[in-house]
């Protein structure tokens, strides 16, 4: 993939967020998007979120810095995102969804585009306004979340070629799929640690006897 295509796919995100239905259709069906661009948007989202912790004026965000673990913070966005993509893919493939896993990831990545676009200016704005003028700041953030939600729904609709009701139904179902996956992961890790400790104790026992 050339650098040129990367830039044009990244630029395409601006078209997608303003024309979601048309944009997400072309994203996968006309191959106008790329995973590289989607990953870039996710990275920018992470960056925006971390930078907002540090640089948002304390009038609008009070951060208890002693309690922040940056890796946990990053995982708190990435982990649900990945789980959602996998869970959604797992369900929709069973119910004639047309999307591939890579396409779902791409769609979800592009749907996050408003986050850095709004969050970065808001970080700057937060340092220029007072609490009384904070309504604009708060509105922008709420608007951003709403926008992302709409984009997410449009993305899933276009990628899987579903109706609106079916999309929303499957997004809710995806949440349950995520919960199931979390449960299985917890089970898996606890089993592994139990297994390891079993062998460790056997080895210890043998060492004692020797």
């Amino acid at each position: 993939m050339t650098a040129n295509r990367y830039v044009s796919t990244l630029k395409y995100s601006l078209y997608v967020i303003t024309h979601p239905l048309d944009g997400f259709w072309d994203l996968t069906h006309e191959k106008r998007g790329s995973l590289a661009a989607a990953n870039t948007i996710v990275l920018l989202t992470l960056l925006a979120r971390i930078m907002s912790l540090q640089y948002t004026n304390f009038q609008f965000m009070q951060v208890y810095r002693e309690g922040i673990n940056i890796f946990v913070y990053i995982a708190s966005i990435l982990f649900p995102l990945v789980l959602f993509c996998v869970g959604n893919w797992g369900l929709t493939t069973l119910f004639d969804g047309k999307g591939k896993l890579s396409q779902i990831c791409m769609g979800a990545g592009y749907a996050l585009a408003p986050y850095p676009l709004i969050r970065f200016p808001m970080i700057i704005l937060s340092n220029l306004i007072t609490v009384e003028e904070g309504a604009f700041y708060n509105f922008a953030l709420v608007f951003m979340m709403g926008w992302i939600a709409v984009l997410m729904i449009c993305a899933m609709m276009e990628i899987h070629e579903y109706t609106m009701t079916k999309t929303i139904l499957f997004m809710i179902a995806s949440v349950f799929a995520m919960l199931v996956m979390i449960f299985i992961l917890l089970l898996f890790f606890s089993m592994i640690s139990q297994g390891i400790s079993y062998f460790v104790s056997i080895v210890k026992e043998i060492m004692f006897r020797m």
């Binding site: 304390f58 009038q59 009070q62 208890y64 220029l128 007072t130 609490v131 009384e132």
Partner: protein, 503 residues
């Protein structure tokens, strides 16, 4: 080598010996002995130098009484005189504070004179002495409130109201009282939950005062709607909370406190343990602090104690600072007028400055007097240098001398770098001197968004006024210039393509 080490040891020893007295003097301000703390913005406990040090603990023997106190419950200070209701011994002890460390016994009041049937007390629980010398006594066991003159002559008594609003089947057990400047009596009686009983100066009952608003949550309400009569009776009923104690501050407002609080109610803020009531009986306590006025914020199962702070008594200093005492953990909480916690100190124990079961608190100037009903003693606290600096700063601020107040807060900050109010105080002082940028720095350090916002607004205004030229240039460069260039290009294009210039 060994020799030189010996020299060194001797040197260190002598130096430490020489500097000993100064070290001792330093330790004496209480910074290393007491258990004083505060909560920061995040609710984390920040330990602090002691704001109050114990002067002494006085038992009945120390005060020259022949009989020890027995469950004393009432304390009143008028000028230099201290009145202690020795409930278990049916007497009232009057003391005079002669100097900082000594009390002199004036008299023991156990009998009254005048035209009245019962001339002794039975379990007196509280006393109030007015400026003109009248004594008001809650004679709980005899179901009456007595008004006596200075020489203990009976003047009048306030009895159970014979009004229909008063439940006549209930026994009248006056527990705590206060008297205002006009001679009106406010009384808290046991088993009365309609508020305080208010009498006019002539003894007529004028109604209940300051009943707390009845609170209930919606789910409880729904449950009650569909419960049977027996179930309903078993449930807690929605009644106003009873008050436990009362204090009239220098401005004539009544502080009331209650120990009828629940864990949940304290968590959500529906239970209000401390109230300041206006004439209408509404709560006008200002709560501008980071946390509500409720004593301890956390009440883990530490040291055998559980549950929230139970405030049994309040006293307010003349400049509006008030102290509440918690009978569970024996702690004293100091708050300023705005509801910021100044410090918490005290605790349960046997050492001086700790309590077993504190029952009453009062103040003499800035000194605090605490009556312990189980330990049967009176503890006197006096502010340390740290405590006095805080008072000074607050007094200066209230007087409008913001610059001096800022300087004093600086001194407080030197003594305790974790004292949030010092930073906010310095910031406020800087703001009044129009040093907005520095003020913002102080507010930001202690997360004071409200004051920061105020300072920032002014700072931004100044900045814009100073850099108006720069801003205009920016706007021109951003918008006007591109437009002009575009225009120029257009004209150039028109000229280039115009018919008349064509060859």
């Amino acid at each position: 080598m060994k020799r030189s080490m010996n020299y060194l040891a001797a040197l260190i020893f002598s130096v430490s010996f020489l500097s000993g007295p100064t070290v001792a003097a330093y330790a004496d301000d209480g910074s290393e002995r007491g258990y004083t703390y505060n909560y920061d913005y995040w609710g984390d406990v920040q330990y602090s130098p002691d704001a109050y040090s114990t002067v002494d603990v006085y038992t009945a023997t120390d005060l020259g009484l022949n009989k020890g106190f027995n469950a004393p419950s009432g304390l009143y200070v008028q000028g230099d005189d201290v009145y202690i209701c020795d409930t278990g011994n049916n007497r009232i002890v009057q003391l005079k504070r002669e100097n900082k460390n000594a009390f002199k016994q004036i008299r023991v009041i156990d009998e009254i004179k005048g035209d009245v049937e019962v001339r002794t007390f039975l379990k007196p629980t509280d006393i109030c002495v007015t400026k003109d010398g009248y004594l008001y006594i809650c004679d709980k066991g005899n179901n009456r409130i007595l008004k006596l003159d200075q020489d203990l002559n009976f003047v009048m008594m306030f009895q159970k109201p014979d009004n229909v609003v008063f439940d006549q089947s209930a026994e009248f057990l006056p527990n705590k009282l206060e008297v205002d400047a006009a001679g009106r009596v406010y009384c808290i009686a046991d088993n009365i939950n309609k508020g305080m009983i208010k009498y006019d100066a002539d003894g007529t009952f004028t109604g209940f005062y300051g009943a707390s608003q009845v609170t209930y949550n919606f789910s409880d309400y729904i449950w009650k709607k569909y419960a049977t009569k027996a179930q309903r009776a078993a449930m807690e009923s929605f009644v106003p909370t009873e008050y436990d104690n009362i204090y009239m501050d220098a401005e004539g407002f009544i502080f009331a406190c209650t120990t009828n609080v629940s864990d949940k109610g304290m968590d959500t803020g529906s239970d209000v343990p401390i109230r300041r009531l206006n004439l209408m009986g509404q709560n006008i306590l200002i709560q501008n602090g980071n946390y509500r006025v409720m004593g301890d914020l956390y009440w883990g199962l530490g040291g055998g104690y559980k549950g929230p702070s139970l405030i049994t008594d309040i006293t307010a200093l003349d400049h509006g600072i008030y102290f509440a005492i918690d009978k569970v953990r024996g702690r004293i909480f100091g708050y300023d007028k705005q509801g910021h916690m100044l410090y918490a100190f005290g605790g349960n124990g046997n050492i001086n400055g700790s309590f077993k079961l504190p029952s009453a608190i009062d103040h003499m100037e800035n000194d605090l007097l605490v009556l312990d009903s189980q330990d049967a003693s009176l503890t006197v606290f006096t502010p340390t240098e740290f405590g006095n600096l805080i008072y000074q700063a607050i007094t200066e601020y209230d007087a409008g001398d913001y610059k001096a107040s800022g300087k004093t807060w600086e001194k407080v900050k030197v003594q305790n770098g974790n004292y949030d109010l010092a930073y906010v105080g310095i910031g406020t002082s800087l703001m009044s001197q129009e040093k907005y940028k520095e003020a913002m720095k102080y507010f930001e350090l202690k997360w004071d968004t409200r004051n920061y916002s105020k300072a920032f607004k002014q700072y931004r205004k100044e900045w814009v006024e100073e850099h108006i030229g720069l801003l205009f240039t920016g706007v021109i460069l951003l918008f006007v210039l591109p437009a002009l260039i575009e225009r120029g290009k257009k004209i150039k294009y028109q000229i280039d393509t115009a018919e008349i210039f064509k060859e």
